[in-house]
């Protein structure tokens, strides 16, 4: 899967969780929880959305590897078919 497609899926998931957020100004190398003011429930929903979109189930132990958009793309690219 292309990185652009993964990025698109990430952005769609974030847009659903934080519909009012300005995703254009999201810094891809920063913790998205702080960037978008999302809490643990939101983040869980984000992980659920990633599974639905890409078929990748992120274990809880790996949450810290997907906290920035850049890291998330790298992580998912390795695992998405």
């Amino acid at each position: 899967m292309k990185n652009e497609d993964i990025q698109k899926a990430i952005m769609k998931a974030l847009g659903d969780i934080a519909p009012d957020a300005d995703l254009g100004s999201l810094r891809p190398d920063r913790d998205m929880r702080e960037e978008l003011d999302i809490d643990s429930m939101d983040f869980l929903n984000f992980v659920v959305a990633l599974k639905e979109a890409l078929g990748v189930e992120v274990p809880e132990a790996d949450y810290e590897k997907i906290l920035t958009v850049n890291n998330c793309i790298v992580y998912l690219a390795k695992r998405a078919g």
Binding site: D20, D22, D37, S40, M41, L44, V47, V48, E60
Partner: protein, 410 residues
């Protein structure tokens, strides 16, 4: 004939807007069924009917804003229907029974503490009300005290985005650009929400003598248990630690039922069911604390599903009236990030609020040895008219004890 009135969906509600009827005259309705959709300053709410019967007629049209207590509909109850069966009244007699269609809506029965409907209503111009703007941008503009009038929008369809607001703010700072108006003049949902919170919290601080307690709790065992459980679960079924806090609080309330009460008619009335109100922060600012019904009786998996659903519907403005009115205590937690403790303000007519800070790594002494543990601080703000620190302390100690054996929480 029973009257269905505009319900009070919280201490901060003075009036509500009838958005839509979900039933028609002539429809049978049962207790608990949704009869109407009402919008308050804090949320859109599916209002449940508390009467069994047949809807006779509606007295308020969708779109109308009326004070709490206004009669919205007349409902013929089952008893009335049965008693009228043997001798059905003549149509003419029925007619005289009913108020004439032109009858004015009943005098508003506003509670003395509710703000007058017209008080503090900021004036908005027609131009501003038609502006296309994202909620986040509106909040930002209100916070910065920026006028939206004349602000250039670069979003879809000329909508004002957060970036446009930021640009306007920086041009204001450099001495050029838009005029500044006080934030209070904007009538955004955010401002209305803030006003509703201000009303109920002012009342709480004015009327309730609060006392405050705090207890640091070793949360390591519970967190490890959640991680291990989540490792066995598909992502949709995973738990967040807040659910443990809600359940533990509910179980502790069984031991200290004095705190599971509402202040009604000048006295405390203990409630049998434990409906924990889960404080949910809304995007764009503000918060709501709808009830998780019978929190103590649900198992953790069920509670997690219901909590998720509640957060989702709460943030989308799709709560039910019973969820708004039923909480017997509130639990507020600031999540994984941020501060180590918070002291809540009691939401009237409740008599207590429990707060949890974020779990923090701390040196912790146990059995004479210092170890690194994850510690969470539980707090209680209690109504001193109802309980003392003694009972309050029992609750926090019980929560601590319950959280040490998370596997029993299931």
């Amino acid at each position: 004939m029973a009257e269905f009135v505009m319900p009070s969906l919280g201490a901060d509600m003075g009036e509500g807007k009838l958005v839509a009827w979900r039933k028609k005259p002539g429809d049978a309705i049962r207790r608990g069924e949704i009869i109407a959709e009402v919008e308050t300053d804090k949320a859109a709410v599916d209002v449940e009917c508390h009467i069994n019967g047949v809807i006779e007629r509606f007295l308020v049209e969708p779109g109308q804003k009326v004070p709490v207590g206004t009669v919205l509909a007349l409902i013929r109850t089952a008893a009335e229907k049965e008693s009228s069966l043997p001798v059905p009244p003549a149509p003419a007699a029925m007619l005289t029974e009913k108020p004439t269609p032109a009858a004015p809506v009943k005098a508003p029965a506003i509670s003395p503490t509710a703000p007058a409907p017209t008080a503090y209503r900021p004036q908005i111009t027609a131009a501003e009300s038609r502006l296309r703007i994202s909620p986040y941008a509106a909040r930002l503009a209100a916070e910065l005290g920026l006028s939206l009038k004349g602000m250039a929008g670069t979003g879809p369809g000329g909508a004002i985005s957060a970036r446009d607001v930021a640009a306007a703010a920086s041009s204001k700072q450099s001495g050029t650009g838009s005029a500044v108006i006080p934030a209070i003049e904007a009538d955004t949902p955010h401002v209305r929400m803030r006003r509703a919170i201000a009303a109920s919290m002012s009342r709480s601080k004015r009327e309730i003598p609060h006392y405050y307690l705090s207890q640091a709790i070793d949360f390591t065992t519970a967190l490890d248990w959640v991680t291990s459980e989540n490792g066995k679960l598909p992502v949709e079924k995973r738990m967040i630690h807040a659910v443990l806090l809600l359940k533990a609080t509910a179980l502790a309330l069984r031991e200290v039922p004095e705190l599971n009460a509402l202040w009604e008619d000048g006295r405390s009335v203990q409630k049998e069911n434990i409906h924990v109100g889960a404080a949910i922060s809304l995007r764009g600012g503000g918060l709501i604390a709808p009830a998780l019904h019978d929190t103590d009786k649900a198992d953790l998996a069920e509670l997690m599903q219901r909590f998720r659903d509640l957060v989702k519907r709460g943030r989308a403005g799709k709560l039910k009236s019973s969820e708004m009115t039923d909480p017997t205590i509130t639990v507020t937690s600031l999540g994984d990030q941020g501060v180590d403790s918070l002291f809540g303000v009691i939401y009237p007519p409740q008599v207590a609020i429990v707060g949890f800070g974020a779990p923090m790594e701390r040196p912790w002494v146990r059995d004479g040895k210092t170890a690194l543990r994850r510690v969470i601080t539980a707090t209680l703000s209690g109504d001193h008219r109802v309980t003392d620190g003694h009972q309050g302390a029992r609750l926090l100690v019980a929560i601590d004890r319950i959280l040490q054996e998370p596997e029993k929480l299931r």
